[in-house]
Symmetry: C2
Subunit: 142 residues, 2 copies
């Protein structure tokens, strides 16, 4: 099954990256402004267009979500953020796994995820995140 | 075998997108400033860190390259740009196919390709491409 893969390196600690991934406030700074719910392990995060169950949350190491509501192509897919500290940065190894088919929407989501991961980088490095609806537009009407 | 997938929609004609993909000048505006070689079907494009053979070049429809020199993970991979006009934009459906393993470098390249496709979009829409070495940096030391 095809996966979406990405990696960014952020000039901060694994702790700060983990905060951006495991708190409602952190998530609202780089992905979806209007995020709600419970970002702790076992909780459900409400992103508006989709709800994610927090399957795993290992402080400063890993966050894994499962999509429990959202676009039909996303249902039961998993989103994994793995944190790898190295010298003066923390790498975020990202995988959006278990897509059933490499549909055109998957191409779109892959590019979109890149812009959001760079939004997380910009948020943590210089307080300039671009969460939706202020996100980078990648096509006319996006 | 895992693929890198992306999609952007560019507010211009398939002809302009095809020019950006099938001429040395066009490619130098959004991917690698110092591009040389022959971008016609059967030719080899010299991108400095990698050489690509133009396997297929269908005006305003499709460009397909095969990597004949470059990072070892790229050798024999294929890069495909499919152009799909729709209303007031041209969608570019991108695939970097035939990676042997989903290595960490593949995660990196996936994010990097997103920034370059957005560089092509910005070049064609408002003459603001960011080809290497002026490319968007996605980690410390990139």
């Amino acid at each position: 099954m095809p996966d979406i893969l990405h990696r960014v390196g952020i000039n901060t600690t694994p702790g700060k990256v983990f905060d951006a991934l495991s708190t409602i406030d952190g998530l609202s700074r780089w992905w979806i402004s209007d995020t709600a719910g419970d970002a702790k392990q076992g909780g459900i995060i409400l992103f508006g267009f989709s709800d994610m169950k927090v399957v795993e949350s290992k402080p400063n190491k890993l966050v894994k979500w499962k999509c429990v509501r959202g676009p039909k192509e996303w249902l039961d897919t998993e989103i994994i953020f793995q944190l790898i500290p190295k010298d003066d940065q923390t790498f975020v190894l990202f995988t959006h796994a278990n897509w059933k088919e490499p549909v055109e929407f998957m191409h779109h989501c892959s590019t979109k995820w890149a812009t959001f991961l760079l939004s997380m980088k910009d948020w943590l490095e210089r307080a300039e995140g671009r969460p939706a609806p202020y996100d980078v537009k990648i096509h006319v009407g996006d």
